[in-house]
């Protein structure tokens, strides 16, 4: 009987610890990416917002989150060279996005602007003031790119 009780307590302890770790882990994930539901601001259609992040090529990023930079390890279509892929795709007219975090699942705003105009700033940190058109879609009013000296350069 004592053995059974000890075994039960041990199992309850394991279950409780495991559950607690999972909850803490999910909270930590949300904080690190800056995009958890609790931390991520909610926007309404028509709101003018200011957001900052990285300019991304939505086509390749939607396929593989590792395609966040200028060069893509897994470009679309598969097998093609991924060097400067983000710039190439923007010049081809594929929609440009703004990723607000680097972690997979971070919010990505799709920008209703002319992609070739942003092609030279792909994979760079930018800040954008724009109007929310619908969930995940933003019309930029002003785009600025961050310079190495910390200042901001007007793009559009």
């Amino acid at each position: 009987m004592k053995k059974f009780c000890r075994g039960s307590r041990a199992m309850v302890f394991i279950v409780t610890t495991f559950t607690g770790m999972m909850i803490l882990s999910s909270c930590a994930d949300g904080q690190s990416e800056g995009g958890s539901e609790a931390a991520d601001p909610q926007y309404s259609v028509g709101d003018t917002v200011s957001v900052a992040g990285t300019l991304v090529d939505t086509r390749c990023l939607a396929t593989n989150w590792s395609n966040m930079g200028m060069d893509h390890p897994d470009p679309v279509p598969t097998g093609h060279t991924g060097e400067a892929c983000a710039r190439f795709c923007a010049r081809e007219g594929f929609p440009v996005g703004l990723a607000t975090g680097t972690k997979e699942g971070s919010r990505v705003w799709m920008l209703l602007s002319t992609p070739p105009l942003l092609s030279d700033y792909m994979a760079q940190t930018v800040r954008i003031r724009g109007v929310v058109r619908s969930e995940g879609i933003l019309t930029p009013l002003r785009v600025e790119a961050k310079r190495p000296d910390g200042g901001w350069t007007f793009v559009i």
Binding site: V15, T58, R59, A62, L112, P115, T139
Partner: protein, 141 residues
Amino acid sequence: MKKVLPLFLATVFVFAGTMFPAASDDITVTGTLIDTKCYGMMPKANIGNTHKLPGKDGKMMDVPSCATACSGMGIPAGIVEGGEAGNKTYVLIVSATALKDHMAKEARVTGKEVFGGGILVAKVEVKEDGEWVDVTPGAMM
């Protein structure tokens, strides 16, 4: 021990389910192809190919083939579900220039919904003479 083990396994399964959500399947949306920028400004006036824009005198003027011109410049193409202004709109992740000749047409788009408002396009069809015609842009690289 026998009573607690199922509880432990159930807990593991519940959390495993939340950790690995099911992959999203393709969706098919039927509606009208639009130039997202002009449509976003005035949905009712700019769902067709001719758009209303402010002229030099401040009055609204008609700009013929505006959607074709905008998508030709690379402004993202989109689809308005059901073809009625104000309905759910998706931005198509595809080269907009490749769809410029199909703006304002009735279309059927299949692909994966991404980023909350985009479709990673697998297939685009437009209705011509009552028939669906495949106009999916080819690989651009």
